[in-house]
Subunit: 250 residues, 2 copies
């Protein structure tokens, strides 16, 4: 029997990772169709009107947007809770999630990882070095300054592990694919938090599969993922990638 | 005594409108600093790290992002609820809100209202006619097709009024500033929904103040808003607008 939940989305995506971590932490089984970024056939377009990943399928319900999906999982499975109990702290956790989904995504994913890897490998275009260097020199440090001020001296952002910690760790995981690491001397709270969250079993289990995606050419990914125990769907909505040879990342 | 809540953000913004409508519907008093879009002094930058409006201030708590703020107001004041009770419907309502905040904002606000009014009046730049015409001919109709399919034959999206209906109506209100109206023959459910929601007293009360903003030059807005009963703050975080003469919109 298929598990209750199906996720459409690639292990490389920080948005997808956020949803998978929540499913893992809440002990919910799922199957996944790890379609490559920027592809997806017509059926995918019907399920995801903005052609974004992740998509969560739960019976008749089809949900888009990682924040909406994570909140839905919390509503369905309140324990372990991934949102602070106090309304003000819960709001701040949701804001930090939103800050990650928009601003960290912009500076770490689109201006760094995408520029350094995907743009070249997937679309055959040159890296925008000026944009990337500005992100590294100015924008990423400013985001780290802001986040550092939001954290306590030690531990998670709001006592127990929450969606805020998970979101922060997800984006810095994607940044680590291009060897970006937080300078622990300059941002000790952030470096400590990200290391702590990424060490959780839920993150570690996913990290092994992410490493497969980074090492293996697109055409062989499903087979190798299966061999590594990834809970793959028997079908795929993945269309044709824009360019052959999307493979080995740095 | 000042009311509990302070909102920083202009009546023209659909994101701000969403928050104000929720405050009105929940019967919560607030004061507002209607700073012009794209301005705001250093203190504003401290309160809003991405320099976006709205900001909600509730005592020591400073919140950013309209979706986070509306959910916080729901958590603090559960009645009248603006989120469906059923978890699946609640998730779908949150998705429609997100669809509005990203995609409707893109096609109705940035590619239409901003191009037609703000870009010229505020920055002295020319309208990008090609972008605007593509939005009008292709993107806005496609968004209306999608939203029309999400609605029931009659009434609100999920039975009682919810954040989904409010969001949709907020974006089409900003579009109406440049005389965009939904073709009721082609999208009857959407036309009916938007009219119904915009007729609510909460929307009507705000509409009178929005009309002031559209008619009155920037330098005179606070005075005229005050005369119209707007609950203004005694202070303002508004900085200098990029260009003099931001005034009379069409």
């Amino acid at each position: 029997m298929s598990p209750r939940f199906t996720v459409i989305g690639n292990y490389i995506s920080p948005y997808v990772r956020k949803v998978l971590v929540c499913l893992e932490l809440k002990g919910q089984a799922y199957q996944i169709d790890p379609i490559a970024p920027f592809v997806g056939n017509e059926r995918f377009g019907e399920l995801s009107p903005l052609r974004r990943i992740p998509v969560l399928i739960d019976g008749e319900l089809v949900l888009n947007d990682s924040s909406v999906i994570c909140q839905y999982l919390e509503d369905c499975f309140p324990a372990p809770s991934l949102y602070p109990t106090d309304a003000a702290q819960r709001a701040k956790a949701r804001w930090l999630e939103e800050y990650c989904d928009t601003h960290l995504a912009s500076v770490l994913v689109w201006k760094l990882f995408y520029q350094k890897v995907l743009r070249r490998r997937f679309f055959g275009e040159e890296t925008d070095e000026a944009m990337m260097n500005h992100a590294l020199a100015v924008e990423i440090p400013a985001a780290l300054d802001y986040l550092e001020r939001q954290l306590p001296d030690d531990g998670f952002a709001f006592g127990a592990l929450s969606i805020a910690d998970i979101s922060i760790a997800c984006y810095f995981r994607t940044a680590s694919f291009v060897r970006y690491a937080i300078d622990a001397a300059r941002w000790p709270r952030m470096a400590n938090l990200v290391e702590r969250v990424q060490s959780l079993p839920a993150f570690q289990a996913l990290a092994r599969l992410e490493d497969v995606m980074l090492r293996v050419p697109l055409a062989e990914q499903r087979e190798v993922l299966q061999a590594h125990g990834a809970p793959l769907t028997s079908w795929s909505l993945g269309g044709q990638p824009p360019r052959k040879g999307f493979a080995r990342m740095e």
